[in-house]
Subunit: 230 residues, 2 copies
Amino acid sequence: MARLPEYLRALHNLAETGHETISSEGLANAAGVNSAKLRKDLSQLGSYGTRGVGYDVGLLIEQIEYVLGLTQRRAVALVGVGNLGHALAGYDGFATRGFRIAALFDADPGRVGEEINGLVVRHIDELPQVAADESIAIGVIATPAAAAQQVADQLVAVGVTSILNFAPCVLSVPPGVDVRKVDLAIELQILSFHEHRKASLTAFPTTGGSALTALPNGFVVTESQEAIGT
Amino acid sequence: MARLPEYLRALHNLAETGHETISSEGLANAAGVNSAKLRKDLSQLGSYGTRGVGYDVGLLIEQIEYVLGLTQRRAVALVGVGNLGHALAGYDGFATRGFRIAALFDADPGRVGEEINGLVVRHIDELPQVAADESIAIGVIATPAAAAQQVADQLVAVGVTSILNFAPCVLSVPPGVDVRKVDLAIELQILSFHEHRKASLTAFPTTGGSALTALPNGFVVTESQEAIGT
DNA sequence: AGGCGCTTGTGAAGACGTGCACAAATCGCG
DNA sequence: CGCGATTTGTGCACGTCTTCACAAGCGCCT
Ligand SMILES: NC(=O)c1ccc[n+]([C@@H]2O[C@H](COP(=O)([O-])OP(=O)(O)OC[C@H]3O[C@@H](n4cnc5c(N)ncnc54)[C@H](O)[C@@H]3O)[C@@H](O)[C@H]2O)c1
Ligand SMILES: NC(=O)c1ccc[n+]([C@@H]2O[C@H](COP(=O)([O-])OP(=O)(O)OC[C@H]3O[C@@H](n4cnc5c(N)ncnc54)[C@H](O)[C@@H]3O)[C@@H](O)[C@H]2O)c1
């Protein structure tokens, strides 16, 4: 499940604040989900709760970390040490959440050799050698969109089977390779959509029956239109 | 729909490469989705396709931008000009995708006054005044997790109803306020989970011959494990 | 020992998303 | 003008996810 990491983060917070056990209600609250959903998720891992008491925080952390494959600290290769890449390279969230930045790569000779956070930027052509030494589990792409596909191909070629892509484009990869995408503009546009919807609703406070977005061509407001789900 | 921004990006690409019309198949391909799903999505906006021909790229861009509320360039306030905040402030993807960074805020007096990309960092206490001048549509939180809730409260207090949160924590906001979250570590952990799953599968080669070459660490896990859906 | 309150785990029902498959509609061409 | 090629729009079925509601289990207190 994609919610396990969220539970894990909440559990770590709880552990730091001294909680030994936690009820599904409390954990669901901390993770921002429904308690029934959380119980169903956790029951998939096995039954690690005690009725009448709750879940053992430490044990649950262990279990989730095992299922997520965080028992080994996975090596991450970051490609594209530009604006965003610098921020990522300097981010301590990698280390504290089970990952290790193993190498930084860039194509710009001007950037190669630069040291960031104790790591030296290497040229992208050195990727095969580095991959031979270190077993790279995950590749992160922070290059411009135009270069992303090429970088993805290079990562796949050296055996990387998981890619996190920050470039706003779709990557095509062979089966067996997982790609996740983070696109800031898409997040903003989704928020903008909700803003627009909220504005339309308050502008025409009808009975509030069916929520209907406004008209395309700037036509008269009396007309109504289908709502679009989230 | 959350897929509309993806379609929009693909459409802009198509427009730049000179396409006047595009079939659902072609657009679905460019956006990485099923063509039936895409047609169903677009049909929710109204019928802007021509059977036997496809969709008019320009018209469709207009329609989607309208529905997403991108006809006006929305003002974004960025709070927390640290490691990540710098990268975001210098990102041109805001401007090219329908947004405008209206103001930068930070609580550190040492950062206040710094100029980034033509914008001056202001103290977070000035937020009410700035919000009075500019109509801020979206707030972006790039502060440490410990400060995120407080910043969210401040944003809500000045009338912001959409928040993009980069801090790894859950925000509680009053109803009517939308929050979207971007958590890098969660993305990595989901990838790690799939890695773990793939490793378990290749460790016990049943019959299927996948094209994967190198074995993982030759690690043998005697314990079998439940498969968990994505 | 027994009862009581609390919490888990799960069955069932409903909502939702997805993809197939096909009728309807449009264009181009002879 | 008519026909075939092409593509949209959508009914339908199916699987997944979500939520409610409740029985079963556990610990504590009397
Ligand atoms: N900056 C942000 O806040 C932000 C936010 C969201 C998404 N993004 C996306 O992240 C990507 C990077 O953004 P940025 O602002 O850091 O851009 P940038 O131009 O500052 O950095 C890009 C880096 O990639 C390197 N590069 C180019 N081609 C390469 C290749 N083939 N192999 C290896 N390295 C290569 C460049 O030398 C440069 O250092 C872009 O696709 C952008 O759209 C950025
Ligand atoms: N750096 C990354 O690549 C990255 C990636 C993903 C998530 N994040 C998250 O983004 C957040 C910021 O990360 P960072 O690396 O930029 O941290 P950072 O410490 O470099 O920057 C945080 C900034 O927020 C400011 N700040 C603190 N409290 C504030 C307040 N109450 N009001 C206004 N500003 C305040 C600080 O002065 C500082 O400038 C963190 O929550 C981090 O977990 C960072």
